[in-house]
Symmetry: D2
Subunit: 221 residues, 4 copies
């Protein structure tokens, strides 16, 4: 899985988010690699209605049931808008443990796939106990640096994969932070990860199609 977090980058809202999603759709068709795009909440429906081969995820949702929760993100609403999954506990949007457990349970009930972020192998192991579908290990000190964790600190990835398997064999591990080239992707997969989570390398790319294509090639044997 190649997951792209568009964050709140000005280069990646509205029609520009749609362009990135369309580029991703093309790359997914050409390479068979599963691609996830996580736009700003207001752009979820725009993307889900205009691309079909790419999975649209929310960047966050709040652990709430329908009701009086002004301004919070209702899980049912992101699903209704076409999201098929959600990123939770990103280092830029950390959650309390009970809230994370509640959000994962709501996601399961609604059929939303969960990618939960962890900043080191120990937290990754803890989070795996909550049974998310994916854990993305992202050392915060590498986020946005262009220095990939899979190359700079391969031990972190190996440890994360091992620690997650100690408690829970069904959660899959993604590698995040600093991924920006085909080699970063390859290195991540060789260390036992099943995909990558990245942001600026694609969101700020002048040509998202070319960048996505390069990254997708990292998944080829």
């Amino acid at each position: 899985m190649l997951a792209v977090n568009l964050k709140a980058y000005k280069e990646a809202i509205g029609n520009r988010a749609l362009e990135i999603a369309k580029a991703a759709e093309k790359v997914s068709e050409e390479t068979g690699v599963e691609i996830v795009i996580a736009p700003q909440h207001v752009d979820i429906r725009l993307l889900s209605e205009n691309v079909s081969k790419v999975k649209i995820f929310a960047q966050h949702m709040d652990p709430i049931e329908p009701g009086a929760h002004t301004g919070w993100i209702l899980p049912e609403s992101i699903k209704e808008a076409g999201a098929v999954g959600v990123i939770l506990n990103h280092s830029e949007h950390q959650m309390k443990i009970e809230d994370l457990e509640k959000a994962i349970n709501i996601a399961k009930k609604l059929g939303l796939v969960t990618i939960v972020c962890a900043n080191d192998p120990v937290t990754a192991r803890a989070i795996s106990s909550l049974n998310p579908d994916y854990i993305a290990v992202e050392p915060p000190e590498l986020i946005g640096t262009g220095v990939s964790v899979s190359k700079a600190e391969p031990e972190i990835v190996k440890n994360a994969v091992n620690m997650v398997r100690q408690c829970n064999i069904s959660t899959k591990v993604l590698v995040g932070a600093g991924i920006s080239t085909k080699e970063d992707v390859k290195a991540a997969l060789e260390l036992g990860a099943e995909g990558v989570l990245l942001a600026s390398a694609v969101a700020k790319a002048e040509d998202p199609y070319t960048k996505l294509k390069e990254l997708a090639e990292g998944f080829m044997k």
Copy 2:
């Protein structure tokens, strides 16, 4: 101004939000009353692209500049999606003072109208110093009760109007909490308010058009 907050009510997401917005558009055309609809973030574009006589507001936005802010609501993104204003500091989504000031400043820069909530006249006066366009006075103990502040506690509305005028004459006062009938609207206007902010009375109405029409008539002489 008749402002309707759809909160995270399950009766008011997706197409149901759109139906409410269309009913509001019809009522606005028939009565000339300015109506605001604030849906879940994922529904902002759906509404703004399908109704034109109603103002679409966000229920909240985060005080952030474009950049690496996973899962937070970027002001630019709600504007791009068609919102023309934003509710801030709702009692269900309270903000720190510095964040509120920052959000109001960002809104001004982007041309978004601000409705800032306050739970009593003293906080209303404090918030008016930050120069929002509207202040909505909503005693939290009356929210969702069907007992309107304008009838149950007219002193609160009068005091709020007076206190806001002490510091700042351009901010307008809306009355919230428990508004559900034409009489509630009339009472609010007689006390010096320039409109109302309400939620469940419309969001959960079996027939939103009829309810909105009744409330709009409260604005007629």
Copy 3:
């Protein structure tokens, strides 16, 4: 371990906290049961300087290093004041996962014992991955009710003990929520717990000595 959380009860601050700690000291001497008292932060030194057979814990500390952190609880400062341990992630004071991990690591470095609260067996297992000394399982719906989890929902305690052992054998399990009698303590121990965490039953007792003595007897064979 019999751990008593004095929370912010007005019956348990200042000299009244000291009286409870002295009663606990007497009971500990008479019965050999290890007793922990967790007072308000301002009372830590008062208790630690005036009782020696009871362990004084903080009710919380913030995951910070010394520096510019106005109004936050510095771990070094609670240790310097005589605390030997700390409660973390109480359901009334929940923490983000990364903060909890950081706080546990700081506690280890300073030699402070950690009791981390969890509201169900799944979260207990997740938290055990972070290697605290104790996990206190406290279903929030039973806190303060006088209905003890060990009697009302023994499965929760059994599951928590089992789940914690899946990932981590050194963390000990305490049972909280609703513990108020000798029988509650006995039931908790029989289910595999190594102690209890309680609050109002002692903090609001007219005669803390008698109540503590009764509870301590629950630890006797």
Copy 4:
């Protein structure tokens, strides 16, 4: 008023906090200047029991009534421990508006003096509407720099003094951020402030007595 915030500096906890308080007591006796010392919560009682000519403030308190609030700072408990006032809304510990209003009201009820921090003149005016005893204007970009706001940006101080007087004449203005010399104090007073709030210049001073004496001389004609 010369207010000293000891923050969470390791040079200013426990006995070292007491030394600073004793130095302050001596300076206050020698110069007649009113000095406030705000230590870590665990040190409030240590200081209040051992110095009498200096006012001990808490660095923060939570807007709570006595009850089940594990790990939060109960206003009654800081008062019982000897604090006579409290700093609120420091830029390192920002509060929601409703919480700040509640905390100020609790302080008034308990007879605690309030110093509320604001990071610019507009927020200062807003906060003055909540009727605290003092407002400390502290542009966060100058905190800890040794560049004082009274010298680097005198307009900010003048504007803050004027804006606070627009709405509320009884709140007094302190100047914070970067104050470290006698000249900084003099400049602040000339601009209309009634005192200063500072931290590292005293908390990290090798000789707190000499530094406090110098600063106190800034209050002399």
